[in-house]
Symmetry: D2
Subunit: 344 residues, 4 copies
């Protein structure tokens, strides 16, 4: 058994990691830390884990050595004690944004402050297996992914990989998100009475996850527009671009199918009948799938490319466990078998 | 024009008062106070009032004299400065629980602490027009009503008024409520990600509003069981009792119709077909109606009596404005004409 | 009193018309027709209207003459008996899509079939007062508006009117909509268990309402992308365009404020703090407001322009009543005073 | 591998069976039938199963022999061809209501028509393992359970088993349910625009599942009151009874803990702090747990006993698979390991 600990286990990302790792056949959880819930049973914070574990939250100051350390803290923390944490485990998977960007200037541009551990940026692999599977397999340090970045990257990946769009041309990604993105702390706008029934375009452009799409896909003129809707888990990215002259539906089918074939968690959803003809996050809650689709307006080359994920799974903890599997040489899908629910 | 001010205008009850009074043809709002939003435009907190008023929240310490003062503060505040407030206005309508109970011992029993202004309890009339219309009409001091108490009182009123149930027998009222009952402050369980999709029985018995049902209807053995559901506005009270021997459907129809006939805001909803056969809060949002219904199991006398209201309207601010109308000799329904929405 | 009748009163648009017209001080409703609910009380279908009217649905074959006829039937019906209907009333307001497009070829292109009454297209004025106030004031025949077209038109109007964008350049409007757009008939995907929690991009481009934006604003390369979200009433249009070189924030503020100043139901919502900083449909349910806002990425001229409306109000029946007010020489806002609700 | 087929695989219960059985390590699915979706891929109807199976729905008239047959048809069908079906499989698990009641007269009383196969009633064991584990283990024919009956039975089981309540005394169970109970066919009231935001007490008493509680627990005077709320999956039963004189909290703790200890899927949830202090269906979606709790008003013996389940899992398909495990001599929890989600 591989021993793992989770730093920051009481947040939503941490809870999802706990759920996945408790059900993982090759892993034993040693500790999950939480300052605010220190000493409480994990199931008192994550009630779905009752009867699954008798573990209590422990003090982050009393972490013991393990094989793999998962960091699920708020952004901006891991970079301050990464040296110390690296002394406790040979492998680290950090779900925060601290080590996602490789370029120091870009980090400072998008996060508005200097990085506290610039020497570590190069050591971390960007942890999206659909982009970096082989590097992750041999890495010791893997960063997590931004959930909105992931939905965007997977919506656009078939197009960039097959060279069907021009990297200089404008790309607009309209992203709709559920409330779990705000985290377990929330704010006044997160109260149910204020957050229910919303369609709230809270960030027209400039969302930090944009930097991850620029870095990973090489797009030069891309904006992410964020809109909150009434849902707890889920992200839908609807990307708008123009294909290169001459690109037709057949090219697109091929490009999307290739990505789905190469990646166990990617599926193409493009049906002519039935209720679920396109990717929808509602059926993905708890699953690690990324469902993708596309449509082309052949009159003007306007392509609409869609990706749906569960932000806490494929957009965070699910992908982190997928990376762990790769790092351990296990089948990529181990412990990530849950299919999602219908109806939901 | 009657001049009014609202103490505590930034909460949900205060916002609803503002909406109603801004649209009231006989009223002019002088001030609305808020410590936390001092100096902000009212429409910055209550965005539905944009283009309706340019008033800003003022300092509660700088209240000026008016004809009527509405108190919309959290419970436990008005009793501490009621003498001072009474110096500013000849008429006061207090939406809080401070002056609802007439019996000092009962107040202490249900609220767990002594009352700070016991001498004022007798001066306030319990502000439910369906129970105390004529007293309210001649009163200077009127208390608000508990929203859950109101749904319970109106569900049971036809039965107690017509003497169809025994006041000593057990009565169970199962109450389902929306999230606006928690107020604009909320708590960790009020976050959308935690509060969405709930069916949460948060109080099996002992809810403070029970005291108002005991006081107003004289029931001796009554419990209110509170369950939160996924809705913002709305209360449904489903009351269970046993009718006296010999009571049949005809008696019930008569009792319920009488209450509806005597009260402009009470309607009997009991249809044999269509979607909306019974009272439902969803179509009452923003309206002052209380919809009631009933069904009788003739094999054992079990009666299920139902009342639906909007907790912020008939359960709070709507009833307060209705009381104001009575106190001013106006038609009871003035400024309360909104019909509610379908669909919603 | 002006006499009016409503053809097709049992749908959602018809129900909203009934609610508005029952509360209108200058109007008397003579008939509301419905084949499927013939003989039923209006309040059995629209339960919010209980105690507001004792009218029953009547037979469309037995319409009597009135001053104004509202047509609230499904698309494709009015064009088949418009001559006959015009014999019953001097003024007609048709909420369907039958007479919105002025160009016969465009109608056929977007609706896929020839028009049954092409001679009538010119007689109808496109019924959006923000675009055609004076023509509507003197018109006898006014068409309704598409809800998604209206959100798009009002999001883009400040830009086109002030000449801030190039009419030839690509414009993408991402539109999020509630379930009431599907109408009272629905389909299998409209069932609550399938439609709850959705983020469903059901139409990437090609939505029929696009034709109304092309016609009214003169945009040459515009697409509407439709996404269903979990809400009953509401549309949010988020429009993406590029401003002309040199356009800065100050120009935009002026353009948006001008539109809001000239139109009683348009408001600019652009706050720096608080929960409601941008337009949101959730606070507009039942109100006739269109809330608009914008943001500019000065690095590349990308403008995001937003408009929120209630699809059944400003997007359909509210605007129809606004047109009626203009046609009757009344104040434009008569009977449309409801402010919307907070919280909701 | 055990071979199984599912008759009626396109409904919600059938879909959940498919999800569970596809993930079950000891089972191979041979056929899933559907008349309305004949020839379609299962994943076109149950989109969560995409990439999990390439099986298509087959014709119920062409069923082949298997080890176990699951019947997931609407009520009233299995009883008409049970002899024929029994010829195809040695073991049958019927999720419908056809073989739940043992008493022919009771069936006729609650279902309003004679039973078509009365000789089979005795052959079926009522399929709730918490009540009949050993009989199920040796049975060939097992009936499913009503979801509302299951929530009620498990809420009351600790009390009846320990003899803490009088079986003759009145028991009221208030049940709140999600929309998936209405099934994939739905009705006009199931449309999202009508069903969203509901608190709809659609059955004050007389629900058919009552018969299962009477049969299984021996309660003489029990009513189930049904209220629909805005949720897709989930049932909460809140049972009201009076304990026998002398019963105190300690007795209750013991009774509830005993049931949880004896049954792997039953948990007691009774916390003093945190958000999730009581059973809530929202965290149970997809899981087979039944969470129970209680509270006692010691002044009058009023006990409130609560049970939360996912109606499609513990209330239907999850319990059916649990029965299958027992019938096959497997660990009861095999294939039912999903923990549920937090947040949701």
């Amino acid at each position: 058994m591989t021993t793992v600990s989770i730093v920051g286990g009481s947040g939503y990302g941490g809870g999802e990691l706990l759920r996945l790792l408790l059900g993982h056949p090759h892993v034993e959880i040693k500790q999950a830390t939480s300052r605010s819930h220190l000493g409480e049973y994990i199931y008192q914070v994550h009630p779905n884990l009752r009867k699954r574990t008798q573990l209590k939250f422990s003090d982050p100051a009393q972490l013991e050595p393990v094989d793999i350390l998962f960091l699920a803290q708020p952004h901006g923390q891991a970079q301050h004690n990464i040296d110390q944490l690296a002394g406790l485990a040979g492998k680290i998977i950090d779900l925060s944004a601290d080590f996602r960007l490789k370029d120091l200037a870009r980090y400072q541009q998008w996060y508005g402050e200097p990085h506290a551990a610039p020497g570590w940026l190069d050591k971390f692999v960007y942890g999206l297996p659909e982009l970096h599977r082989s590097e992750i397999s041999s890495a010791n340090y893997v960063s997590g992914v931004g959930c909105n970045a992931t939905a965007s990257n997977l919506a656009l990946l078939p197009l960039t990989r097959a060279g069907l769009i021009d990297l200089e041309a404008p790309v607009i990604v309209e992203i709709k998100v559920g409330s779990s993105e705000s985290g377990a702390e929330g704010n006044s706008g997160s109260l149910h009475a204020e957050r229910a029934n919303v369609i709230r375009t809270f960030s027209p452009f400039g969302h930090r996850h944009t930097a991850e799409v620029i870095q990973e896909l090489g797009l030069k003129d891309i904006s992410l527009t964020m809109t909150a809707v009434d849902l707890v888990r889920g992200v839908l990215a609807t990307a708008h671009a123009r294909v290169k002259p001459g690109v037709v539906m057949k090219d697109l089918w091929k490009a999307y199918r290739n990505v789905a074939t190469e990646n166990p968690f990617v599926r193409v959803v493009k049906e002519q009948r039935g209720i679920y003809r396109v990717p929808e996050p509602k059926i993905l809650a708890g699953s690690n799938y990324a469902d993708i689709s596309f449509d082309l307006d052949e009159t003007n080359g306007h392509i609409v490319s869609i990706c749906a994920i569960d932000n806490l799974m494929k957009g965070a903890s699910g992908t982190a466990v997928q990376c762990m599997n790769l790092m351990l040489g296990l089948d990529e899908t181990t412990g990530l078998e849950f299919a999602g629910l219908h109806p939901y």
